[in-house]
Structures are given as structure tokens and as C-alpha cells.
């Protein structure tokens, strides 16, 4: 990240002032011209190529075939991709993914920003403790997170017990087994995992905003809202971009959690693209369709991260 933005600003500066020594120096790749560089890169490239780049190309090829994984494959052309657009059974997972983006990305970023606005008005003591606890969900295996949350959301779990204690036992239900509520329930787990990440990122970023800016805003008579909009939010633009990128990728790559909590059910109430890729390829023998879905998911992730980089980070000029 830092390296890349460093390069970009370098290039921009070079474009602004062509011909200066500094600009020319910046534009050049670092170090000595050395052919031995290839030798250093080769082992990593071999492993990376054989086990990542080559399979990626193969997925592209498989997505153009009808194949059950066993018998002879037949050419499908773009049929598998067309099915993604027309077959409701294949469109539903992407709609679910869109809902989960709200829970995994939009909500944590919004909550993180609001809390940061409330929390930056003075130096917080014990920040190390809060940071450690808030970030904790990020280091737990999603399998463990899933098991922990199943216990919370179970019919006799903590959530229903709490509702009962509040006299709201009418609202209690089997959250993960409910057609309507399973998807929001899974989304809530995502919100739980990602909110701490956003908060830790934004609080760290806010500490770097110069105090004088806040003082200047206050002298100008800005209230908490103005202060947030004119000082905190612009100061956190880079952090918002990072948070959005990380959380949206997490939202779209949530196979582990779905597998452990609902397996896409009940019915297909929580089926998502990453789970469908697995189910189709390894359970129902629709390898071509699974591959087309994998490629599409990848394209969506690339497109969204590019949008975030463009619009959130790019506006800082």
C-alpha cells in the first residue's frame, strides 16, 4: 500500500515537473541493472505460477465447458455466463452477496466512523487494551467464529435467552434456521468481525490528524458535526479506502462462515457465490458453472476494489 501510493505520487510529481533531476531519479526503477535478478525471482515465480496463475487460467478455460468432473467435457462457449444472468437459481447468490456487503462493509465502516467522531476529542488511555480486544475477532479462525456464533444464535442460545429476560420471548426464533432471518443473522456475524477492524483503523488514523485543525475548527465555531465533516472525515480518507477494501473482500470470500453456520440453507436462503463454487464443483458436478461463478466473483472483487481506490482515495487531490 504505502509502496504503491508512494510510486503513484512520485509519478504524479514527475509529470508535474518534467526534467527536474528529482523527477527523473524518481521515475527510474531502483538499484543496479542486474540480470541475476531473474534468478532470485525464479523459485517464487515457479511456485506462484504453477499453483496460482496456471489454475487461474484453467478456471477461465473450464468456465467455457460443460463438465461434470468425470465424463468427457463438451464445449459450452459463454453458456455458463449467460446462465448467471438468466437463471434465478444462479442470480440469487449474488443478490445475497450484495446484502452481505451492507453487513460486512457498509455497516462497520459507518459505525466505525461515527464512533471515531465521538472518540477523538481527547487522548484515550488504555488504547492498547481496547485495540487488542476490538481486533481480536480478526485473528480467530472463521471456523471458530462460526461455532461461537452458532451457540449465540441457537434456539436456546444467548440471544433468545436475553430476549426472554427482557420479556420479548415472542421475538425468539431459530435465527440460523429461519428463511427470512438466516441471511441477516449471518450478516451480523460479519458485522461483528469487521467493526473492530474499522474502529482500530480509524482511531489510529484520527490520532494522526493534527490537533491544530480541530482547534482551528473550534475557533471558527464548528460544532461536533461540522468538525467531523470538515476535519475528521477528510483526514481519514485513506483509512476508509483500506477499510472498505478489506471488508468487501471479506464479505465476498465468506465460504468458511457459511459452511459452518448454515451450509447455504435453509433452502438457499444464505447461498453465496463462494459457497456455490464449492457446492457446484465438488457436490453437484457442475464444474463449468462453478468455474464461471468463480471467474465472475473474481471480476466483481477486482471491480469493487478499483472503484474504492478511484473514488475514495483518488479524491484526495
Amino acid at each position: 500500500m504505502s509502496a504503491l501510493t508512494g510510486r503513484e505520487t512520485g509519478a504524479r510529481r514527475a509529470a508535474a515537473a518534467p526534467g527536474t533531476r528529482r523527477a527523473r531519479h524518481r521515475r527510474r526503477a531502483p538499484g543496479e541493472p542486474r540480470a541475476v535478478g531473474y534468478l532470485y525471482v525464479l523459485p517464487a515465480l515457479a511456485v506462484f505460477g504453477v499453483f496460482l496463475l496456471w489454475p487461474l487460467a484453467q478456471t477461465g478455460w473450464l468456465s467455457l465447458l460443460h463438465w461434470d468432473g468425470l465424463t468427457r467435457a463438451s464445449w459450452a462457449g459463454l453458456d455458463n455466463y449467460q446462465d448467471l444472468l438468466t437463471d434465478p437459481e444462479l442470480r440469487v447468490p449474488f443478490a445475497h452477496a450484495a446484502v452481505l456487503l451492507l453487513f460486512y462493509a457498509a455497516l462497520p465502516v459507518a459505525v466505525g466512523l461515527l464512533l471515531t467522531a465521538a472518540l477523538t476529542r481527547f487522548r484515550i488511555r488504555g488504547m492498547t487494551f481496547f485495540r487488542t480486544v476490538l481486533f481480536l475477532p480478526q485473528v480467530l479462525a472463521m471456523v471458530v467464529v462460526g461455532v461461537a456464533w452458532r451457540a449465540v444464535l441457537a434456539p436456546d442460545g444467548l440471544l433468545n435467552d436475553t430476549l426472554g429476560a427482557l420479556g420479548l420471548s415472542g421475538l425468539a426464533r431459530s435465527w440460523l434456521g429461519d428463511d427470512t432471518w438466516a441471511l441477516p443473522a449471518v450478516g451480523t456475524i460479519g458485522t461483528w468481525v469487521e467493526t473492530g477492524l474499522c474502529l482500530v483503523l480509524f482511531l489510529a488514523g484520527a490520532q494522526r490528524i493534527p490537533r491544530e485543525l480541530y482547534e482551528a475548527a473550534r475557533i471558527d465555531g464548528a460544532g461536533p458535526v461540522r468538525e467531523f465533516l470538515t476535519v475528521t472525515l477528510p483526514g481519514l480518507r485513506a483509512e476508509v479506502a483500506v477499510a472498505l477494501t478489506l471488508t468487501l473482500v471479506a464479505a465476498l470470500r465468506n465460504f468458511d462462515l457459511i459452511y459452518i453456520t448454515t451450509s447455504g440453507g435453509p433452502g438457499n436462503a444464505t447461498s453465496v457465490p463462494s459457497y456455490e463454487v464449492y457446492r457446484r464443483a465438488f457436490e453437484s458436478g457442475e464444474v463449468g458453472s462453478a468455474s464461471a461463478m468463480g471467474i465472475t466473483l473474481t471480476a466483481v472483487i477486482f471491480a469493487l476494489t478499483m472503484v474504492v481506490t478511484r473514488f475514495v482515495e483518488g479524491r484526495s487531490r
Binding site: 531502483p30 499453483f51 481527547f122 471456523v143
Partner: protein
């Protein structure tokens, strides 16, 4: 002054509330892990005594002893291979100039954003064809490839940030490019290496999809996979399930508590390009 005091109260109140929310499911697992096995409650009441034998049961009845061995073996191998290969490649990308280096580097960076779902299907058929499914290699090699994206990116940043004058001084003293790397840059780079190590260790330890697809026999199961199967078989046995989940989380959480800064730094700056 008065407003400031309420403000402080509210601030710490909010932080404490969110800390509590973050800890509740974790505390629930811990308390269930220590509960009596016949207690049907998945509840959060204080357990009736500390039933440490749940862990022993999970270890023997759930075969978590052998799963932990597999996980340790795979994680150590992936961390070692990633560190060596990423350091070599990043050294070239960070300190040398050769045609195509930019393009090659960006190939690795693409790997940061690439979801496993984009490669897992053909990877399974390839590894099966090569006879590598249900082997440790089938877990180690693909995960090394995945970790290399982060490794190369992360270590290149380190090599780029070392002062140019240092490299020039080494060259003037007659050091070859190899001895510059092994004698100067590697010993100096301990912080960068320790971040790389903890991050790759955590990813490998927690990896689920790859293990689920590549391993079908019990002998090569890693702990996350073991937990998933354990849940399928003993879903009513909440105490054992929770004990098993605790055993899985424990190593990573312990390292995280010790090296909290490295984790956060690595996951935020490194994966920022994801």
C-alpha cells in the same frame, strides 16, 4: 470541565461496550468449554466448576492431537517456504533493475486480491492428477503460492526502505549481491520477518477451504477441518465442541497477545492492496 468529564465517561462507556460485544461470543465458548458435558445449556452462566477434562476428551475422542500435529507441520512448512522464496524474489524486486521486473511484480500483487474460489476447482483436479491430494504437499504447495503474494509485496517494501547508501557501502567494500542479502539485509530485517511470519502462520493455521477440498482422509486433517467434522458428528456435544474450538484458537491468540502490533500492522498495511 464538567462537559469534558461526561464526555470522557461516554467515550470510555462506548469503548467498553464494544469491547464487551467483541468478547461475549469468545467468553461464551470458554465458559461452555468448561461446563459439564451433560449440561444441555449452550448458555453463558458461570460453569459449575472447571471441567478441564473436556479438553482431554476433545484431544482423544476428537483426535485433535493428530490434527494439531498436521496443522503444525503444514504451518511451519508454509511459513518457511514463503519466507525463503519471498525474500529472494523481493530482494530482486526491491534492489535490482531488470527488464520486466515491474510486470512480474504486479503479477504477484494480483495474487493479493485473487479469491481462492478463482483457482480452487482446477487446482483440485491438477493435484489429484499429480497424486498430491491427501498428502501434506497438497496443503503446503498451494498455500505457499497464496502466501507469496503478500510475502513478496511485504518484503519488497522492506528492501526498498533500506537506505541506498547502505547497499552502496556494501558494494564498495566488495560484498557480492548474495552476501549483501545474507550478511546485512536479512539480519537487519528482523521486524519485517517477524510480521511476515506471524501473518502467514495465522493464515495457514486458520485455512479451511483448501484443506476441505484437498484432504479427504482423516490422517491429513488440519484442526479447522477437524472442528468442522467434529461439529457435524457431535453437534449436540456443545462442551466438547467448545473445547475443541478453544484448542484451535489458542495458539494464534497467544501469539497475537504477544505480538499484537505486528499482527495489526501486517494485516492493515500489507493486505491494504487486497
Amino acid at each position: 470541565m464538567n462537559t469534558s468529564r461526561t464526555e470522557r465517561g461516554v467515550t470510555y462507556g462506548i469503548l467498553a461496550l464494544f469491547a464487551l460485544i467483541a468478547l461475549t461470543p469468545v467468553a461464551g465458548i470458554l465458559s461452555t468449554a468448561l461446563a459439564r458435558q451433560d449440561s444441555l445449556k449452550t448458555g453463558f452462566a458461570l460453569p459449575d466448576g472447571l471441567n478441564w477434562h473436556n479438553f482431554a476428551d476433545a484431544w482423544t475422542r476428537g483426535h485433535f492431537g493428530s490434527y494439531l500435529f498436521n496443522s503444525v507441520l503444514v504451518a511451519v512448512a508454509v511459513v518457511a517456504a514463503t519466507t525463503v522464496l519471498a525474500t529472494l524474489a523481493a530482494y530482486a524486486f526491491g534492489t535490482m533493475r531488470f527488464p520486466g521486473s515491474e510486470v512480474l511484480f504486479y503479477l504477484f500483487v494480483v495474487g493479493l486480491t485473487l479469491p481462492q474460489e478463482a483457482v480452487i476447482v482446477p487446482l483440485y483436479f491438477d493435484l489429484r492428477h499429480w497424486g498430491l491430494t491427501d498428502t501434506y504437499w497438497g496443503l503446503i504447495l498451494p498455500q505457499t503460492a497464496q502466501s507469496l503474494a503478500f510475502g513478496v509485496f511485504w518484503m519488497r517494501t522492506y528492501f526498498r526502505n533500506t537506505p541506498r547508501s547502505l547497499l552502496e557501502a556494501a558494494r564498495i567494500d566488495g560484498a557480492t549481491h548474495w552476501s549483501t542479502l545474507t550478511r546485512i539485509l536479512v539480519p537487519m530485517g528482523r521486524p519485517a520477518f517477524s510480521t511476515l511470519t506471524v501473518i502467514v502462520f495465522m493464515w495457514t493455521w486458520n485455512e479451511f477451504l483448501m484443506a476441505l477440498v484437498m484432504v479427504s482422509d482423516e490422517a491429513h486433517r488440519t484442526v479447522p477441518l477437524g472442528l468442522a467434522f467434529f461439529q457435524g458428528q457431535h453437534s449436540s456435544d456443545t462442551a466438547l465442541l467448545a473445547a475443541a474450538a478453544t484448542l484451535i484458537a489458542l495458539p494464534v491468540v497467544a501469539v497475537y497477545l504477544l505480538l499484537q502490533r505486528r499482527f495489526i500492522q501486517g494485516m492493515l498495511t500489507g493486505s491494504a492492496k487486497e
